[in-house]
Symmetry: C2
Subunit: 426 residues, 2 copies
């Protein structure tokens, strides 16, 4: 009896329907390789390493993908989701713009540059991708509640996706969170819970609840392996939108580090499946100086990540103890890339630079990534002659305060032509 058949029986015994996870075969430990059946598991029972989805991919063609819907489900054969995923209510994220950024390229001295713009996703960040995959897992696993601890983008994405799916959604946030971020989640759910404490306290409480309560799917805790796969779609889309080829260099923000490793995984899968030509590419990680444990380890040439207490305006990147930090180091070093960090002032400048050159208003995470791109070019770590992609993961409307002090009207005038003419703008 093949492993797949055993798995299928296991799944049926656990009440999960046939094909619930598409071409996913098992959960595999990233550290020791031990495999367990697909279910609400996230840590290896042997070594406590993180579990990842392992697949038996069929032959997938470019034509099949191109004939699919204009959202992440065009790649459903490469995700842990059922073949009928697009018929279940979801926010239909993805297939966001890949814009050639000629003005920004000229400003930075690059030959060819693209911005992958995830700020136009349904709730305006890349989190809609991962949450859509987590929602599918929660549904297939029969979860009663769709939940997360979060300080912003994730809360928005979970609350919106849960509402649309008609699932009970509970979102946990620190009680001192800015009101706009609270509103942007509370509008979607009756069950926004404010927790007295910082994000670490909220996160700890979420793990506790996940352990105590049956049927709660915390997207970034007990269904994390499914959730994290959603980030691969960023890599697939970039390759498809470039005309089924890989860029030479890519700059990706690093919070937990999951997104960077998944984009690399996506590129490798496309090569293995023969969907793009095999070629070398360099992966670069971007952090804010006020929370740069991975960048610090990279520069020191060490493998271990030393946790830090975050102090940066790039709050959506402010994870002091990044779960996938060591894998980020691996990917960046193996591909010949690097990890770099920029100050909060450089983040603010980069937000305005991207807006003024390309008409894209990014949040502080995107400012960090564009700022790091600039620094990598100036320091000679990134080759300006090679084709480069930079990822914008979220929208500036969510972090307005970052630039509110530095941009504004050039003049305030009386409503007359004479007053206007005096400004020198005529």
């Amino acid at each position: 009896m093949s492993a797949a058949v055993v798995e299928s029986q296991d799944a049926q015994e656990s009440g999960v329907r046939e094909g619930a996870f598409g071409n996913a075969r098992a959960l595999s430990c990233r550290e020791c390789g031990h495999e367990v059946e697909l279910g609400p598991h996230y840590a290896c029972s042997e070594c406590f390493g993180p579990l990842e989805i392992a697949y038996d991919f069929p032959q997938v063609t470019r034509e099949e993908i191109e004939a699919g819907p204009r959202n992440i489900w065009r790649y459903k054969a490469l995700l842990p989701v059922p073949t009928d995923i697009e018929t279940s209510p979801n926010t239909e994220p993805g297939f966001t713009r890949l814009l050639e950024a000629k003005n920004l390229a000229a400003e930075l001295g690059l030959t060819r540059l693209w911005v992958k713009d995830d700020s136009t996703n349904p709730t305006n960040s890349f989190k809609d991708r991962v949450v859509a995959c987590a929602l599918s897992a929660a549904r297939e696993l029969g979860s009663k509640v769709f939940a997360c601890p979060s300080t912003g983008n994730l809360a928005n994405a979970v609350a919106a996706a849960g509402a649309r799916a008609g699932m009970k959604t509970v979102v946990f946030i620190p009680s001192n969170l800015e009101q706009p971020k609270q509103v942007n989640s509370a509008v979607f759910t009756e069950s926004l819970v404010a927790v007295e404490g910082n994000y670490d306290d909220v996160n700890k409480l979420a793990s506790e609840i996940a352990g105590e309560e049956d049927g709660w799917a915390f997207v970034n805790v007990n269904v994390r392996p499914y959730y994290a796969e959603g980030s691969k779609t960023l890599g697939y889309e970039i390759a498809e939108q470039l005309g089924w080829r890989l860029p030479d260099q890519i700059v990706i923000p690093v919070a937990s580090g999951s997104q960077l490793t998944k984009v690399h995984k996506a590129f490798q899968e496309l090569i293995t499946l023969g969907l793009v030509e095999d070629k070398p590419y360099k992966v670069y990680g971007a952090q804010a100086a006020g929370c740069s444990p991975v960048s610090v380890a990279y520069k020191a040439g060490v493998d271990a990540i030393r946790p830090v207490k975050p102090d940066t305006i790039a709050k959506s990147l402010a994870i002091g103890n990044p779960a996938d930090g060591i894998y980020v180091l691996d990917v960046c070093r193996q591909t010949g890339g690097a990890v770099e960090d920029v100050t909060d002032d450089e983040v603010r400048e980069a937000i305005v630079l991207l807006a003024r050159t390309e008409g894209i208003f990014t949040e502080t995470a995107g400012g960090t990534t564009v700022g790091v791109l600039k620094k990598l070019v100036e320091s000679g770590q990134l080759d300006p002659e090679l084709e480069t992609v930079v990822i914008n993961t979220g929208h500036g409307l969510k972090t307005l305060d970052a630039v509110a002090g530095s941009v504004g009207p050039v003049a305030t005038i009386a409503p007359s032509y004479a007053a206007f003419a005096a400004t020198g703008l005529a």
Copy 2:
């Protein structure tokens, strides 16, 4: 000599390149039918009526459209833009989500309902569509400056599109505009000008500058005929995304009224071109009670619009003297639809209703439209058995204050499982 050849000669004499406006033939007066050559004109020289684009359409096929880019330029043959439009830097708006809204339909007692969601456009409103067409016209007419008077969404769209196109952009706003809206424009342009006065004062100043200065393209003033055509793409997309067919009923917000008339124009063009089957459909207009001159005229059964002084939270719909109001009355009456209005409280409730049922966070304009949909069903003006589309034109992040008082955390708790269990959410 044919009219087209004469036009082509005129265009060449005025320095405009051949094919600058695609299949557009002339500017035609909506009132008297007088035609003038394509140029920076917006009012009829004979009767001062509004000018509209007239076309000589070639045969266009579904396949040609479907093979185009995933943005509004897939419809370039039906717009006043050149055939190479997608190669000029622009924000690449459009092809936004058309979501089937089963939860909202159930809530309202409708059989089949769709939401066309323009909140995921590049600057988060439908204005990116019209501005992209205005930008093309400004470029082809050799304009030096890309400009607009605005209180919000239009300012964002113009500033972003101008930045990406590398054009000098000047945006005029009332000086008392909320800071978030100022930031969301100022981040893109060095030339945000605050004007002491209300929107009417700003608008008047813009017309004055357009008259005094050569080479200024005010998107909603002197290149308005090109600009307004961009709204047709909403209609094209809805039909294509429904599988090349028209809905039975559609509910559209009314500010100037341009969008509603252009969606109707788009449906008519698709029928004429044989791209969809001819069938009856009803068009409904949505206004806020605090600025409802068209709804008032509709209900009174009169043709004339009496201007009002706006007083509503739906500021992006607050045009007291709507230029296309009389045409909205025509379309809604001819198709068997209606024009309705809702109070600010109903707007707020509808924003939360759409968010809680479908995971879409709309601004006050969308709240108005969904609120009107609800009222139309309840009052028996809209048939619940017929397939209905409702348009969401913008993003709730831009009008947070509308719901900030009515949604928030359900509980604030200590970071412990015991405290959580006491909430009753477990």
